[in-house]
């Protein structure tokens, strides 16, 4: 209809420029939450509390970046749970507790490859078979969890000592996991902004048909996106396994909602498209982690935490819809 052709869209809330960018909105949400936390439970802002929270935030951020890129390509990836669980299980099983650093490193690379393969399977089903992402990733997720259960025999085991100490360790007073997350975040932000591949990734996300008309291999980019996401989940899974030392078998299940919530709190629209901001998703991951610690710190238990997450995700999606002028 000629209507949309003519409409010169104005950005909403002209006076509050911070609210016009996704990063601005996400940062504002974190600041507000920190203020609330500071008043309600001052101890939650102590350096000990923050340092114990940061590794979890970092690991969530890594998985959330994976979810973010899939969502930006107008998909959704529920197999995040399966990949995290499987890689965590395998890293505790394969190298053995006493394994040396090199052998562990090799296995970690192998597990990242496993994550990528799972992602490629997702990508093939979504692109070639043209299944909706939800159905595909639900199916792949179930298979991955099944494999994790079969492999572990239903019993959790202990991660290699080398791995655990490296992951729990700190460098210059800052948890090592944070370095990994920062590296991945910076790499992906740089990738999307200045590299040819990254710019094509953004173009394919914004309008796949137009990208195809310009000769961009749309299918390859979509599959690549799921593969990269799978690799990121695997990294998160390995880090979690090392950090927790004896990870539970259903470790990944929470991360379906957590990663989607981080993307949503980053006020990236769930329909995807060209405008997503990885930075906002990373901030969203920190927001969620701090929030859940705050909720626990205030003496509420896991059940209430889940209810709050539900409210956040629904509220976040609703808010994104209201703030984002480009959503149809």
């Amino acid at each position: 209809m000629s209507g949309s052709v003519l409409s010169a869209r104005k950005l909403p809330l002209p006076g509050l420029s911070a609210l016009n960018s996704t990063v601005g909105r996400a940062s504002l949400a974190v600041v507000v939450l920190l203020c609330i936390g500071g008043v309600a439970a001052p101890s939650s802002l102590s350096s000990t509390a923050l340092l114990s929270m940061l590794p979890f935030a970092a690991m969530l951020a890594i998985a959330a970046i994976g979810q973010h890129i899939v969502v930006q390509q107008r998909g959704l990836d529920l197999s995040v749970a399966g990949v995290i669980s499987l890689s965590a299980v395998l890293v505790t099983l394969l190298p053995g507790v006493e394994a040396g650093a090199w052998s562990v490193a090799l296995y970690v690379l192998l597990l990242i490859a496993v994550g990528m393969v799972a992602g490629i399977v997702n990508g093939l089903f979504v692109t070639i078979v043209r299944l909706p992402p939800l159905v595909t990733t639900i199916g792949v997720n179930a298979v991955l969890i099944g494999i994790a259960l079969v492999a572990s025999g239903g019993v959790p085991s202990k991660a290699p000592t080398v791995l655990s100490s490296a992951i729990i360790g700190k460098t210059l007073g800052i948890p090592n996991t944070l370095y990994v997350a920062a590296l991945i975040a910076c790499a992906s932000i740089g990738f999307m902004n200045v590299s040819v591949w990254g710019r094509k990734f953004v173009a394919v996300a914004a309008n796949a048909t137009a990208a195809h008309a310009l000769g961009m291999p749309v299918t390859l980019y979509r599959i690549g996106t799921y593969a990269a996401a799978g690799a990121l989940y695997a990294i998160a899974g390995v880090l979690l396994a090392g950090f927790l030392s004896t990870p539970g078998l259903f470790l990944g299940n929470d991360y379906i909602l957590w990663t989607v919530a981080a993307v949503v709190v980053g006020t990236n629209s769930i329909g995807g498209g060209g405008q997503g901001s990885v930075m906002a998703t990373v901030i969203g991951a920190f927001f969620l982690t701090y929030l859940s610690q705050l909720v626990l710190g205030l003496g509420f238990d896991r059940s209430l935490q889940q209810i709050i997450q539900a409210v956040i995700i629904i509220g976040g999606v609703a808010l994104t819809g209201l703030l984002n002028p480009n959503r149809a």
């Binding site: 409409s7 939800l134 099944g146 094509k200 137009a210 000769g215 909602l257 060209g274 209430l304």
Partner: protein, 841 residues
């Protein structure tokens, strides 16, 4: 719905032109921000008159229709129907029922429904056997024999011309008083146009006010009693058809004398740049075309004659078969990349779908097309990218704040200038432009024409596909007329006139008058495979095989007790799967079904304790069920009201409900009334009550889905919510109802489950979400909505439950169950998807 004020309606005198207008527009405007799509339009439409509205693409014709039909709310002005004002926010449905019907340019039909169902959606006169006959008569009246349409055909299997036939029939249903037609002849051949005109004359004689919107001048002059010209959103003139000369209309449409719009033509052509010889492909055959430097060649034809496919094949966007293409003597391979690398640039006819990256800036839009020249070591040189964008802005005279402005902040004409500029910036040897001035204002058009002429004189070959005769006449040195995938006429030099182009179109298509369009009868077995009920047979066979194999392996499997328990769990799963399908059929998804069952189990452990009297038990059970239904209703209202994506919203409630259950029952406890278990497992005709309930519900829902208006609407919403909006089916309401149904059915499944579990366990229902989606997919439902069968879904549920029951007898652990369900989902959904896409493709 009362959209008309209380004044009694005028009785129109059939057959004669009454002095009272049937429809009046008074100063009607539609603005999007600063820009007007329709500006102070004032027009009267009289009964028994065919009133043509003519204007270029994007002049505001479609906006006028949308504003009257209530598809978009008008910004200002008054619309009167038979003298009674229509409310600004009157519903589409209300306006239609008051007698305003629209034949949309893009047919407002639901692809997954049959022709008959599409008609039934808009009018109840087509139900029953008598209605069937009525529908057949209506279609026969509208269509010539070679465009015959079967009532039982699904609309997505029809050709564009046949869809238009159904669209016209749909609009005529219910005897409208005012009939709008928006470019109704676009895909029609000469004899179909004639047929339509005779229908319109007949309708006119019944006293209907007909508004005929088109950009085809010759057709309007043939049919119209009165002609109004619209330009840039304004009605610029309105007179009886006979009071216009052709030249006057043409000048009025363009807004200035034609020779001022178009640049002068080429003096002489240079060397051949593009040589196409005997090229065939999907939709065209045996096309030869030589384009010389300095020459602009036009391709035209009635819509769907292969000209579009041909130009897209040259651009590498569509497959091509035999024949050769050479660019400066060198051939290039298939595919977009080969074409672009060889020096072909392409401007798509659909700016929004295939041209713009609408969320990105001007610079990013430009950069996306110039990646090859802007890249060094895999990185984009930002400064060069900015320079290219600024160069295009100044070169094409784009009105924009800067290179970082969002592309959507530009007007349509300026957006198009950016796209044309980007393609020119690739320094092509040949520029292909498909409808390069669609939806572009006259100033921008003129600029685009000049630019095309300028690069042509610089030695670039230019090929333009266009449907507008005036544009072709003004711009092109040569024009090739397509019909049925072949070039039937070539016009050059003085012959390139609107008049001759139109004539060539008509005579060319007229030649083939006797040929009928092929009736696309899908191969029978593939129709069967794609059918809604085909999965039932396969699933039932698989279920039987699993049960048989397990009974051979374990003697305990077929004992009475284990069979009974398996049947009850089958019933539970079936009911929750029915719940899931209710939502999926409307194009949504409900992840909360499982946790809702869990919460019902937990609630039952408090509200339905063992101590209850039977009567109390029934009462409280009903209350719990009402609670679950209420939850479904609220969830639906939330999703529709706040326009949340169903996936994320129900992912939220998926976790939220689990939290609630955990909050109520941190550890399992509380015993649930035995009466619940006994009641549902009570045998009735050798089968537990729960099973009868599940079967009954599945049959009932199936009947509702395929035999009632409500069911049609459910499928319509899933099939295409946008079209639903245009024909007045309230998609939001249907969505809310589907979530409510889902809440009710999940609640029922939860109650039966509670009886089986026996005590409050927070995690009881969670796994059912995955299983319900799997069963729906196994049953062959389209996860994107519109198609599905409750009976097939039940068959899917039976297969899943028998697999699970069997695996526990075969001592396989839960791990394998996960794998089996996952693999089943992927295989089933994958094969259905492949079968359907093969059929569609």
């Amino acid at each position: 719905m009362n959209i008309i004020a209380s004044k009694p309606p005028m009785v129109a005198q059939a057959g004669s032109v009454s002095l009272e207008p049937a429809l009046s527009l008074i100063e009607v405007s539609k603005a999007y921000g600063e820009a007007y799509a329709l500006k102070h339009a004032t027009l009267d439409f009289f009964p028994g008159e065919i009133h043509a509205i003519i204007g270029e693409n994007g002049a505001g014709k479609s906006t006028l229709i949308s504003a009257v039909a209530g598809v978009v709310p008008r910004s200002a002005g008054e619309i009167r129907l038979n003298g009674n004002p229509i409310d600004k926010d009157a519903s589409i449905d209300g306006i239609r029922k008051a007698g305003v019907a629209v034949v949309f340019q893009h047919p407002a039909l639901l692809p997954d429904l049959t022709v008959l169902e599409n008609l039934q959606l808009v009018s109840d006169e087509f139900s029953g056997t008598a209605g069937r006959g009525k529908a057949e008569k209506l279609l026969a009246m509208v269509a010539t024999d070679h465009l015959r349409v079967e009532l039982g055909q699904r609309v997505d299997t029809l050709t564009l011309a046949r869809k238009h036939v159904v669209e016209i029939a749909r609009a005529l249903a219910g005897d409208p008083k005012v009939l709008f037609l928006d470019e109704p002849t676009e895909p029609f051949q000469a004899q179909d146009v004639e047929k339509l005109f005779s229908v319109l004359r007949q309708v006119r004689s019944r006293g209907v006010a007909i508004i005929y919107v088109s950009h085809r001048l010759h057709e309007m002059q043939q049919i119209a009693d009165r002609i109004s010209v619209i330009r840039d959103g304004e009605i610029v003139d309105s007179r009886p058809a006979s009071a216009f000369t052709t030249k006057e209309i043409v000048t009025l449409i363009a807004g200035r004398p034609i020779d001022q719009v178009f640049p002068p033509k080429a003096e002489q052509a240079g060397a051949t740049v593009l040589a196409v010889d005997n090229l065939s492909g999907d939709g065209f055959a045996g096309i030869s075309l030589h384009v010389a430097a300095g020459e602009i060649v036009g391709l035209t034809g009635v819509e769907g004659q292969g000209q579009r496919e041909f130009i897209r094949a040259l651009a590498g966007l569509q497959s091509r078969g035999s024949g050769t293409i050479t660019l400066n003597g060198a051939p290039y391979g298939t595919g977009v990349n080969a074409a672009r690398a060889a020096g072909i640039a392409f401007v798509s006819d659909d700016r929004h779908a295939e041209g713009l990256f609408s969320e990105l800036t001007i610079q990013a839009n430009v950069g996306a097309g110039l990646m090859k020249t802007l890249a060094r070591w895999g990185l984009v040189r930002g400064a060069d990218e900015r320079d290219s964008a600024s160069a295009i802005i100044s070169d094409m005279n784009v009105r924009a704040e800067g290179t970082q402005s969002p592309i959507l902040s530009l007007s349509g004409g300026n957006q198009q200038k950016v796209l044309v500029g980007r393609e020119i910036a690739t320094r092509p040897k040949v520029l292909l432009a498909d409808e390069p001035t669609k939806g572009v204002d006259i100033g921008a058009r003129s600029e685009i024409y000049r630019k095309l002429r300028a690069i042509s004189s610089d030695g670039v070959g230019v090929v333009v596909a266009a449907s507008d005769g005036i544009e072709l006449e003004g711009l092109c040195d040569r024009v090739l007329v397509f019909a049925r995938g072949r070039v039937v006429r070539e016009l050059a030099g003085d012959e390139v006139t609107d008049h001759l182009i139109t004539g060539a179109n008509l005579s060319a298509t007229g030649l083939r008058e006797t040929k009928t369009e092929p009736v696309e009868a899908p191969v029978k077995w593939s129709r069967l495979l794609g059918g809604d009920h085909f999965p039932i047979a396969v699933l039932a066979l698989l279920t039987a095989a699993i049960i048989f194999a397990t009974s051979r392996a374990s003697e305990f499997f077929l004992t009475e007790l284990s069979i009974q328990s398996m049947i009850i769990f089958m019933a539970i799963l079936t009911i929750v799967c029915l719940a899931q399908l209710c939502v999926v059929i409307t194009g949504g998804i409900d992840l909360s079904t499982g946790p809702l069952m869990g919460l019902v189990v937990v609630s039952a452990s408090y509200l339905l304790p063992d101590s209850l009297e039977p009567a109390q038990l029934v009462l409280w059970t009903l209350l719990v069920l009402a609670g679950a239904t209420l939850f479904g209703l609220l969830q639906g209202l939330l999703i529709v009201g706040l326009r949340l994506p169903a996936i994320t919203a129900t992912l939220g409630t998926f976790v939220g409900l689990q939290g609630m259950s955990l909050l109520l029952r941190p550890t399992p406890g509380g015993s649930i009334a035995m009466g619940l278990a006994d009641g549902f497992s009570a045998m009735f005709l050798w089968v537990p009550l729960a099973a009868w309930l599940a079967i009954g519900l599945a049959l009932l829902l199936e009947l509702v889905l395929f035999r009632t208006d409500f069911g049609r609407r459910l499928r319509a919403v899933g099939s295409d919510p946008d079209q639903c909006q245009r024909i007045g089916v309230n998609a939001g309401r249907m969505s809310v109802i589907s979530f409510t149904l889902s809440g009710f059915l999940s609640g029922l499944a939860g109650i039966i489950l509670a009886g089986q579990v026996g005590m409050g366990t927070a995690s009881a229902g969670v796994d059912y979400t995955l299983m319900s989606i799997t069963a729906v997919v196994l049953g062959g439902a389209a996860v994107t909505g519109g198609r599905g069968s409750f009976l097939a879904t039940m068959a899917g549920a039976l297969l899943i439950q028998s697999t699970i029951s069997a695996s526990s007898f075969l001592q396989a652990d839960t791990a394998l169950q996960y794998c089996i369900v996952g693999v089943l989902t992927l295989l089933a959904a994958g094969s259905f998807s492949l079968v359907r896409h093969r059929k569609a493709g």
